[in-house]
Each structure stands twice: as C-alpha cells, then as structure tokens.
C-alpha cells in the first residue's frame, strides 16, 4: 500500500468513525440514573445512592426531591447544580452536604427510621 492509498484509507476511516460515533452519542443520551455515586471528598466515605429504587420501588415522586422542577417541566436539575460543595457565606442555598443530610435523614426520620452514618456512607 503506497502513501496516498494509506492516507485515503485513513481519511475514509476517520469520516466513518465520526459518523458512527456521532450517531451513538446522539441516539443514546444519558437517561434517568439507576444509581448515583455521591462523593464529596469528605472523610465519612462515598455513598452509592439507589436512585431508581427510591423512585420506583419506594413510590417517591420526582418532585419530592427535585423541588425546583415545578417551573422547569422539561429537565430535572442535578442537586449539585445549586447546592454547591462550598457555597459563598451570604448564600441562602444550603451546602451540598447539609442539603443531602437534611433530605436523606429527614425523610427517613419521617418514616420512623433512624439512620447510622454507615447505613449510607462507605458501602
């Protein structure tokens, strides 16, 4: 195979790969997550949050947690979009750690379940 044929082959391959790759990315956008790994770099350990299980098996509505979605019918916001790891001092939005603790512990307590740290962290 001479140099020109090599180059033609490479250019053809590149175009085909771009096409297939673009179709794959466009046709399969990320959907509702099955699980979410919460890793805020704290010492208590990561948390594997069973998102689909809470949503489907425990019969929770999306809006129970994604509380800003009432005005935004098209897209759910990720928690970390507003609840920052280190919010500015005058911010009224609770930090990521505080809001997750309030949401998870609060909801479980409402159902009469007491949580230990290791029930969520580090498993």
């Amino acid at each position: 195979m001479n140099k020109n044929k090599e180059r033609l082959l490479a250019l053809g391959l590149m175009a085909a790969l771009f096409l297939v790759g673009a179709v794959c990315y466009a046709a399969f956008p990320p959907g509702e997550p099955i699980r979410v790994l919460l890793d805020f770099g704290g010492g208590a350990g990561k948390i594997m949050f069973e998102h689909q299980e809470h949503h489907a098996d425990f019969d929770l509505a999306c809006l129970d947690c994604h509380h800003t979605a009432e005005d935004e019918t098209d897209e759910m916001q990720k928690c970390g979009a507003c609840h920052l790891a280190k919010p500015s001092k005058d911010s009224e939005v609770p930090s990521r750690k505080d809001s997750f603790h309030a949401q998870c512990i609060g909801c479980h307590e409402d159902m009469g379940l007491e949580l230990e740290c290791t029930d969520c962290h580090g498993n």
């Binding site: 590149m14 175009a15 790759g21 580090g122």
Partner: protein, 329 residues
C-alpha cells in the same frame, strides 16, 4: 581457500521489504479487537460511541496539527488511530464527547506532535493524554461513579481495584479480592475501561503481537513478572490477609492492556535486552507499590510514565562498539 560467506552487506540501492509503520498500527488495532468487541458488547452503544469518537478525533487532531505545523501529513501511518483506540480502551463508556476529544487533543499535541511527531516522543502519547484528563476530571474517570448511573450487571459491579484499595486500608485486601474470581476476571465479568475488562482477549491479542514481532516479549514479560513478584512479596511478608493475590493484580485494572498495548510503543521504550528487562520490571514494581501503598487504585499509567522518563538513561546500558582503538599505531 575459504569461500563460504558468513555475512553479506550489499551496496545501495537496497530493496524495501514492503513493511510500513501502518502495518504495525493496523495489526495492533486488530489485536485489540477481541477486547474492544467484548467491551462494546458489555457496555453497548455508548462504548461504541466513545471508541469511534476517540479514534476519529485523534486522527483529526493529527491532520489539523500537521497542517498548522506545515509538516507532511502523517495520518496515513495509523498511529493516531491507534492512539485513539487505546485511549478509548482505558475510558469508561459514559465519558462525554467533549472529554474524549480533549483527551485525544492532549495525547496528540502534548504527547506527540510538539516533540516532532512519530518517533520523537519521550512519553507514550496515550499515557500523557490519559494522565492529564484523569487528573482534570477525576469524577468522569471514576469507574464506580461512571457506571452506577446507567448499568446493571449480573456480577459484582464494584471496580475491583478500588474495592480492594479501600479494603487494604482496613487490612482486609485478600478477602475483598476473593470476591472476584480469576475466571470471571479473565472472561470480562468485571467493571473497568471499555477495552480493559476482557483479560483473555487482551492476552490473545498480546500473544499475536509478540509472535508477529510487533512488540517485544522482554518488556511485556518483565512487566508482568514485576507485578507478580512484588504482589507476591506483599502477600507473603505483609500482615496476614491485608493484600490481594498476585493473580488478582494480573487480571484487573490496566495490567494486561499495559503489558501488551501501552508497552508496545516504540520511541518511549528501550531497545536493548537489559534496559528492556529493567524497564518492564521497574514499571511492574512501581505499579504494585502504587496499588498497595500509594494514593491511586491503579498505578499502571503513572508507573509506565515514570519509567518513560528513565528511558534515555536505561538506553545508555548498551554493548560496547565493535573493534578497538590501537594506541600509538
């Protein structure tokens, strides 16, 4: 009179045997195919998207950078496509497209082109791209986080090296590693990079490359031996049950892809026997030190990069020149 000729070197012109750089590139891609195919089978169309975009963008960057640097186009030699493919093999299938094309950009520009293109690079371009991207977007390259959202498999979905790393800190590495059987790891029943999960496929591909002479067995074998011996020493002389078996370390993470595909890069690896053995074994020992007592779950990428730095020094260990100098002749 002795007429038997022992060694003949003819005058120019010589006859080119037809071998080209592109042949090695396409053969390496062929060897990677079984592992990539199983990865795409396991992770689906998302993985296919990452592989295609990584290969295509690496080739596009090479084309564009050759034009900008006013150099002859080198896209035909297939090394850019190979760089893209091996990078994709190390990536999780959920990596966004912008992260994929940025990674290939760093690999092609900083890994290769600024050193003058193929043959001038002191580091493996794949490793440069991966290391920079991995340090920049740790969360995107975390296999546990990346796969949690969209996948459910019928086997333990924890990334084996991270699970064992966490357990080693508690002195229970052997127990954690026992959850992953060698046969499951060989057959791709583990989470990890798109092309790094199917151990058997990587071994078959590697053996093909060694038999065809595209990679040097001395480097591959000494790397594997370095990992095996160091892991064995940790296991034998460390606290009881604290460290995982050598076989676990051989079949998880980037060990096999490192041995056969990352070590197969020409310009960043030594050429003589002793330096090759030191290079491979050193990378193996460093990998295990990082895995067992270092900060990273998998040290293959950084271990090989560190040995790349040593490469020019290692190349100074070489046979003496033929002939002799006669004083006062």
């Amino acid at each position: 009179m002795e007429t038997k000729k022992k060694f003949v070197v003819s005058h120019a012109p010589h006859w080119h045997n037809g071998n080209r750089v592109s042949r090695k590139s396409y053969n390496m891609m062929l060897a990677a195919l079984p592992a990539v195919a199983i990865g795409i089978h396991q992770y689906g169309a998302l993985a296919l998207g990452v592989v295609c975009i990584a290969m295509a963008s690496a080739m596009a960057w090479e084309l564009i950078l050759d034009l900008l640097m006013k150099r002859p186009s080198s896209i035909g030699d297939g090394t850019a496509a190979l760089t893209g493919l091996i990078l994709a093999m190390l990536m999780p299938p959920t990596l966004p497209w912008w992260a994929v094309i940025t990674t290939t950009f760093v690999a092609i520009l900083i890994g290769k082109m600024i050193f003058g293109g193929l043959g001038g690079n002191p580091f493996n371009p794949v490793l440069v791209g991966y290391a920079v991207a991995n340090l920049s977007w740790k969360g995107l390259f975390d296999f546990d986080a990346a796969l949690a959202g969209g996948y459910t498999f019928g086997f333990d979905m924890a990334y084996p090296l991270t699970a064992v790393k966490t357990a080693v800190a508690n002195g229970a590495g052997a127990e954690a590693a026992a959850n992953f059987s060698a046969s499951a790891l060989l057959m791709g029943q583990q989470t990890g990079g798109i092309g790094a999960i199917f151990g058997l496929g990587l071994i078959i591909g590697g053996l093909y490359l060694i038999i065809r002479g595209y990679i040097r067995w001395e480097i591959c074998l000494s790397f594997v031996a370095g990992i095996f011996v160091t892991a064995y020493l940790f296991k034998a002389f460390g606290p009881e049950g604290a460290y995982a078996d050598p076989s676990f370390h051989l079949l998880t993470g980037f060990t096999l892809i490192g041995a056969f595909f990352l070590m197969g890069e020409d310009s960043s690896t030594p050429v003589n026997l002793i330096p090759m053995l030191i290079f491979g074994a050193g990378a193996g020992v460093l990998t295990m030190l990082m895995r067992n007592i270092g900060a990273y779950a998998d040290g293959v990428v950084y271990a090989i990069l560190l040995m790349n730095i040593l490469n020019p020094l290692l190349d100074m260990i070489r046979p003496g020149a033929l002939g002799k100098v006669v004083e006062n002749a």
